[in-house]
Symmetry: C2
Subunit: 192 residues, 2 copies
């Protein structure tokens, strides 16, 4: 049950068995049916989660009521609104399950306790957020400099499992284009 999350945190720091035991004892296991909102605009994000199984989407709603998908979450990904969680201020994000999803979650309290009892986790979480920042910067750069078709090709190469699991218009939203145009791009690629 803890295999995948252990492997995930062990990637950057090596832990002793006792440290992992503390880690496990502080994790809360959660099963959530599909189409459930884990977080809404205006709410304070009271969890940080690791996806054991399932699929989620994190999105904004713009002033015209349009959804813009910021990221998908699948197995072995971390989930939450870091700023809202740590500063305990209202989030602007929505997080919704797309499939039935199993998670390990922390509350602010249990995370703090973990960091207190096993300070090495500071490094794990710092690396996570650094990688998240680098990935977001990279995506911003590409959404500015690359045409939609290349962004799409890169997306399916990077996340080959996602197109089979989520409606296509979610991917269009993630790429910042209309569903019709994504359909046209796909038609064009298929012809080759």
């Amino acid at each position: 049950m803890y295999e995948s999350i252990d492997k995930n945190v062990n990637r950057s720091v090596t832990f002793l068995k006792e440290e992992l035991d503390i880690f496990h004892s502080l994790l809360e296991h959660k099963a959530v049916p599909k189409k459930t909102l884990l977080l809404q605009d205006g709410e304070i994000c009271n969890f940080e989660g690791y996806i054991i199984k399932g699929c989620t989407r994190t999105y904004y709603i713009d002033e015209n009521g349009f959804e813009v998908i910021l990221q998908f979450g699948i197995e072995d990904w971390w989930l939450g609104d870091v700023a809202s969680f740590h500063e305990q201020k209202p989030s602007k994000l929505f997080i919704e399950t797309i499939e039935d999803t199993e998670l390990f979650v922390f509350s602010p309290q249990t995370k703090e306790e973990l960091l207190f009892r096993v300070p090495k986790f500071e490094r794990v979480f710092r690396l996570l957020i650094q990688r998240n920042l680098a990935a977001t910067q990279n995506r911003l750069f590409k959404s500015i400099s690359q045409p939609a078709q290349e962004r799409y090709l890169e997306f399916i190469e990077k996340y080959p499992s996602i197109p089979q699991r989520v409606p296509q218009h979610y991917i269009a939203s993630y790429l910042g284009i209309s569903p019709e145009f994504l359909s046209k791009i796909r038609g064009k690629i298929a012809k080759k």
Copy 2:
């Protein structure tokens, strides 16, 4: 000399005089003429800096040789490539001074020493990177969902001093549009 940086770090955590003394003793002061590259693609970023005075731009170069500006830096801003600095891996970014610039800088070693001697700084740096992530996510969201004119208006409202200090085509690059189109937008706004 340390006034502004002290105010900056004190915003999120309160420090004692002795702690600030340690902090100051580890900062290196640096004066850099304009049009100097502080970091290049392929280099490992060996500094994290705070801008006392001056102006910088951080940018990528895409596969066609086009520059895309990721952010500007002015007084009271932090500078660097967080991931490259901490993981000591090659950066994909360029950082260049636009004006003569004065900085305080850390090396990886001095930053580590600071964190060791005054662990409260962990929190300061974590908050900085969290805010950076939230701002970058927000910008990605807007670059996907808002038209260029609104993004421009928001930019000049948020950073009123920058348009007076940097060439206009840098702002176009930051907004992800061509300089000609930005000029058109400005013409249109001025007419009203």
